[in-house]
């Protein structure tokens, strides 16, 4: 059905700006340096240097070691600093290490923590252990927001995704997130649909609203708009806000900017007219 909802002109402009404001601009590589992170932060503040009406993104997402650089570069901008933690991306470390990882990231200035769930425990049916770990990390976060990465590509069934979503929400997660981007299968529309249904039902039952973040593999404006339509049709417009829905992405941003320019000027500009990050 989603391919058959059409988004054009003013609605499209609105959707593109909303999608830009929802981007968690991400760099998670061994080769990340302070220079690279500073460049990304500059891009986050002004995605399109040629157009001051272009909104900033929601957050920068980096490894804990890069948090101080990002926090400094983003100071005063209102853009969040998100840090992956808990032995990202595998999560295969003792709980004390994961908690220390989290606390260090928060202490360095991260106000959002993207944790990974213990898939080893989940897939062997030790759901309580998964729950307790998330609850402990949530406590270690203090005031920082917690995003719980389910790594849906490794959970493989929709039943598992639904169950993991539920565990993440019950344990106190502020967001549930599809993927690390480090395994072959990342965010897909069907998996995001299952998660959106979960957060919708969770709010109906408990009154607490939880956000959703698909991450990995969303590269084009067309894809992003399909996700927004999915949010609109499933969870409703309460979730059509950067506080409740995010895209974990890096290349998506430039496609959004390209389509935004096309919409305002009527012509496509080449890739050299958009900054690399």
């Amino acid at each position: 059905m989603l391919g058959t909802r059409s988004i054009k002109t003013t609605a499209k402009a609105w959707a593109i700006d909303l999608a830009i404001r929802m981007v968690d601009l991400t760099t998670l590589e061994g080769a990340d340096t302070p220079g690279k992170v500073r460049a990304l932060c500059a891009k986050a503040r002004r995605p399109d240097p040629a157009d001051p009406t272009c909104p900033p993104v929601a957050a920068i997402c980096v490894y804990p070691a890069m948090v101080p650089v990002a926090t400094e570069a983003l100071a005063g901008s209102g853009i969040h600093t998100a840090s992956v933690a808990t032995a990202f991306p595998s999560g295969q470390a003792p709980l004390e290490v994961k908690l220390a990882d989290t606390k260090a990231a928060v202490a360095a200035g991260a106000d959002e923590i993207d944790m990974v769930i213990n898939r080893g425990a989940f897939l062997s049916g030790r759901y309580l252990e998964v729950y307790e770990e998330i609850a402990a990390v949530k406590q270690a976060c203090g005031p920082a927001h917690l995003k719980v990465i389910l790594e849906t590509g490794e959970l493989s069934t929709y039943d598992n995704v639904r169950r993991a979503s539920w565990i993440g929400m019950l344990a106190g997660g502020d967001f549930i997130k599809t993927s690390t981007g480090k395994v072959p299968v990342a965010a897909t529309l069907p998996v995001t649909l299952v998660m959106l249904e979960a957060v919708r039902d969770f709010r109906d039952l408990t009154g607490r609203q939880v956000g959703v973040k698909p991450a990995g593999g969303i590269r084009t404006t067309k894809d992003a708009i399909k996700y927004l339509v999915l949010v609109n049709e499933t969870a409703g417009d309460d979730w059509l806000d950067p506080d409740w829905f995010r895209f974990g992405a890096s290349t998506l941003l430039n496609d959004l900017l390209m389509q935004r320019t096309k919409l305002t000027t009527g012509v496509y500009a080449g890739p050299d007219y958009f900054t690399l990050d």
Binding site: M1, T4, R5, S6, I7, K8, T9, A11, K12, W14
Partner: protein
């Protein structure tokens, strides 16, 4: 602010002539008495075209043409050559798919999303499938050299105009019969475009004849002494009349009639998926589906969440312009059908069931009915027993699997049923006990040319589709 923009499919792809004759012996001819009727777009009430009305003399002519083509050409042609024509027709249908889809939505009122993604692809698939059988009839399990029957009289309904044509014509031609087909009076246009496709495919004249008209034309056709086989899809009332009229004659009959299918949702079913299936079951094609899941049976323990989820989902359905790609529910096919839906819905309210529809703006012109559910329905209510043939769902509850089976089977019909559960063994247990021609498990309204389709009890007899569908057109 998140407004969807209209995305109408262009009407320019299809060329509707101001008037159409009858398709007899490979050419369009005027009816003997010059009678005609108008066909309209149910979404706007605009007249689309004027179509010839066939009288007894025209039916005579069409049957004679079919007989001659049968005797001289089609029954003598080797199966592999018949297959070539059917493959050619299938390919032309695919090539002209957009044209057919737009025309179907204009004449019938169904959303373009359905005509484009469901009807037309299935039409092509049916021709491809039966083309494959044409040279393999001796391996179909009906003896070493099964013979065709002769001239088939086929009368089809307005809910899936071209798809019902394909269900009828593809197996008939594959088996070596020739046909005279009467489309419904409210939806003749795609059948007439199909006649042009037969010309384009160089199909020998007389193999396919199309006579347009209403009930009288249909009666003249099925009662004609020159036909060997009658295939009818439509109302149970007319089906009974046909069965009476051919009693004692040599004519072979298959009837695919009404339905009042139960869609059974157990407590362990994934609710969101079940709700999608419920919506697809009853609101697909505006509920103009003989196998529609018009009775929802929900296990009492999950009644409330299922109903809440269903209402929320229904509020998202978009009713409107059938040619708009955003549209989920199109127009009711005719004023008469709209009247019937209204009458039965009013009776539902009077009998004490609670009526609910989501708020939705209906267009000013044309025939429209908002998606509607009735709760608190019991087996004794008329809306739980009679076929409404519209976007109206009756919701009932049950406590145990045995009660679900009992209620599901407690109907004069038996065309289809749906079961929603996580448990495989329960699906099989239910399928064994449900008296319905099709039992869908965790899905609904799924069609495939390889799968036989047909009813129990007052839903008719005979099967269409699959190897079983050949039997109706062979002398076995």
């Amino acid at each position: 602010m998140f407004e969807y923009a209209p995305a109408p499919e262009s009407r320019a792809v299809v060329d509707i002539k101001p008037s159409y004759g009858l398709f007899v012996d490979g050419a369009f001819v005027d009816p003997a008495d010059g009678a005609s009727f108008k066909t309209i777009n149910p979404a706007s009430e605009e007249v689309l075209s004027e179509v010839a009305e066939a009288g007894p003399a025209d039916v005579d002519r069409a049957v004679a043409a079919a007989r001659e083509a049968y005797d001289k050409v089609w029954s003598r042609m080797p199966g592999r050559d018949r297959a070539k024509y059917l493959y050619r027709i299938a390919r032309i249908i695919q090539e002209r798919g957009r044209e057919l889809a737009v025309l179907e939505s204009l004449d019938n009122g169904k959303p373009i999303r359905e005509s484009r993604d469901v009807d037309i692809p299935l039409v092509a698939a049916h021709f491809f499938y039966y083309a494959g059988w044409a040279d393999k009839l001796s391996h179909a399990g009906f003896g070493p050299a099964p013979r065709p029957l002769g001239v088939a009289a086929q009368v089809i309904p307005w809910n899936f105009p071209l798809l019902m044509l394909a269900w009828k014509i593809a197996p008939a031609l594959a088996a070596g019969n020739t046909v005279v087909l009467k489309p419904a009076e409210t939806t003749p246009l795609t059948a007439l475009l199909f006649a042009e496709i037969c010309q384009q495919a160089d199909l020998p004249p007389g193999v396919v004849n199309i006579v347009t008209g209403a009930g009288e034309t249909g009666r003249a056709l099925v009662e004609h002494a020159g036909v060997d086989k009658i295939a009818f899809t439509g109302s149970t009332e007319v089906g009974k009349a046909i069965a009476r009229s051919v009693a004692g004659s040599r004519k072979k009959v298959t009837l695919e009639l009404g339905g009042k299918a139960a869609n059974v949702v157990f407590e362990d079913a994934p609710i969101d998926q079940a709700v999608e299936g419920i919506v697809n079951g009853i609101f697909f094609n505006q509920g103009h589906v003989c196998c529609a899941g018009s009775r929802l049976l929900v296990q009492e323990s999950v009644y409330e969440p299922v109903l809440a989820s269903l209402k929320r989902r229904m509020a998202r359905l978009r009713v409107g312009d059938p040619l708009d790609k955003n549209t989920d529910i199109g127009a009711i096919n005719s004023a008469a059908q709209l009247e019937r839906i209204r009458t039965l819905s009013d009776i539902g309210g009077e009998e004490g069931a609670e009526r609910w529809s989501p708020p939705c703006d209906l267009p000013e012109h044309g025939f429209w009915f908002a998606p509607t559910i009735f709760t608190g329905v019991t087996q004794a209510h008329r809306i739980a027993r009679e076929e409404i043939f519209g976007p109206v769902l009756s919701v009932l509850t049950f406590r145990t699997p045995a009660e679900a089976v009992e209620k599901a089977n407690n109907t004069p019909y038996g065309l289809s049923a749906g079961v929603w559960t996580d448990k495989g063994s329960r699906i099989l247990w239910m399928a064994d006990r449900l008296r319905a021609g099709v039992v869908w498990a965790n899905t609904f309204n799924k069609f495939d040319p390889t799968s036989p389709f047909g009813g129990y009890k007052e839903s008719g007899y005979g099967r269409e589709g699959g190897r079983h569908g050949l039997e109706a057109y062979l002398d076995v």
